[in-house]
Symmetry: C2
Subunit: 218 residues, 2 copies
């Protein structure tokens, strides 16, 4: 595979290319918290490796080869997160930072064994899909809770934002992956939602929160 630094670039490129296939060095630098000349010189190496298309002064594009390399790093990250959560008992708000280190382990057997022990999971603890060993993954088509009308009954399937702060907020509100959410009311003024969770008590979710919850009709 590649060095830890390169694996981190690959992941960033992958996430950015999903938003738009043309990736500016500025964006990439901001994502990785690196200065532009740093990114510039690495992007040239990636071009040498055939991982990106690159022409001077133009945004880069991830090649199919690069996409696959990236997906395999993301596979390691998400398997690690799942393992940390399911086998080691860490909370979904704790797993990302540890996985950020574990994903750089080179021994493939380590991840294969995790996969096996977990029963070949399709998603990580935040509902994101886990690429297979070929780097392929099923892009799920969930929508934000904020897109649904009053009366909808939906299942909470994944997160749009997996920041620790947001995950801790969801913990406090007992909102967990797989829960059923019923939209009782939507306040026209600020788009805040009154919902009930799995037949539980009602609670209010701000539009900011509803936007970040990815759901599927029941």
């Amino acid at each position: 595979m590649a060095t830890a630094a390169k694996e981190n670039y690959l992941k960033a490129l992958y996430h950015l290319h999903l938003k738009s296939p043309e990736i500016s060095l500025t964006e990439l630098g901001q994502t990785l918290d690196l200065r532009m000349p740093t990114v510039n010189s690495m992007v040239k190496k990636f071009h040498e490796s055939g991982w990106v298309e690159y022409e001077k002064y133009k945004p880069v594009k991830l090649t199919e080869k690069g996409r696959k390399m990236a997906a395999l790093v993301i596979r390691k990250h998400r398997l690690a997160e799942m393992f940390l959560s399911q086998v080691m008992g860490f909370g979904w708000e704790e797993v990302h930072d540890i996985a950020e280190e574990l994903e750089h382990i080179k021994k493939e057997d380590f991840f294969d064994r995790m996969d096996e022990l977990l029963g070949f999971p399709g998603i990580d603890p935040h509902g994101s899909p886990i690429p297979n060993k070929d780097g392929d993954l099923v892009r799920s088509s969930y929508e934000s809770l904020s897109n649904f009308p009053v009366g909808s009954q939906v299942i909470f399937k994944a997160l749009k934002d997996s920041s620790t702060e947001f995950l801790l907020f969801l913990n406090k509100r007992s909102i967990r992956l797989g829960a059923q959410i019923n939209i009782i009311d939507i306040e026209a003024f600020d788009k805040s939602m009154s919902i009930s969770l799995d037949e539980g008590d009602a609670q209010i979710l701000s539009h900011a929160v509803a936007m970040r919850l990815l759901v599927e009709p029941k």
Copy 2:
């Protein structure tokens, strides 16, 4: 803590200092498979950090501070090996190489959780003691099987050599940690031993093998 490179130096220093408190740069270099000038410059940095005593042209000595740092790396290594073996189902011959990478993970929680899940184990899968969080460990006083006379009944407690080749040999012979070994006969000519394992069939162990098995009287 330290970088992965430095953690590997610390471990090597620790193992060498047990054999003799004065550690030559040549030995250290051979252990780590690094050239002497490389080791020389790193040793100067370790001296700056207060991890070794160092004077030009003299062998180095691990300081108490360095010993503790080293023990904490060894703790991570051995906890990882135990986890890989007990929780993930790897064989004792597979765990070392993976632990060589895992030991450099910086998140302390990761190892604390392993420790907890394993029930705070005192030894690793090869019978070596696991240092505690203060860097302290109980030095066990096992002896080589080759030191015992005919008629001895002993328990196989640890390995003097944990190389993959030796571990695979022991697997083939079904010789596992904790087994009882009865010395039936010793051939004067080559010091080979006829033994029986846990009431099982007899087998012959060469002196080379008997030397590498650490045991305790039953």
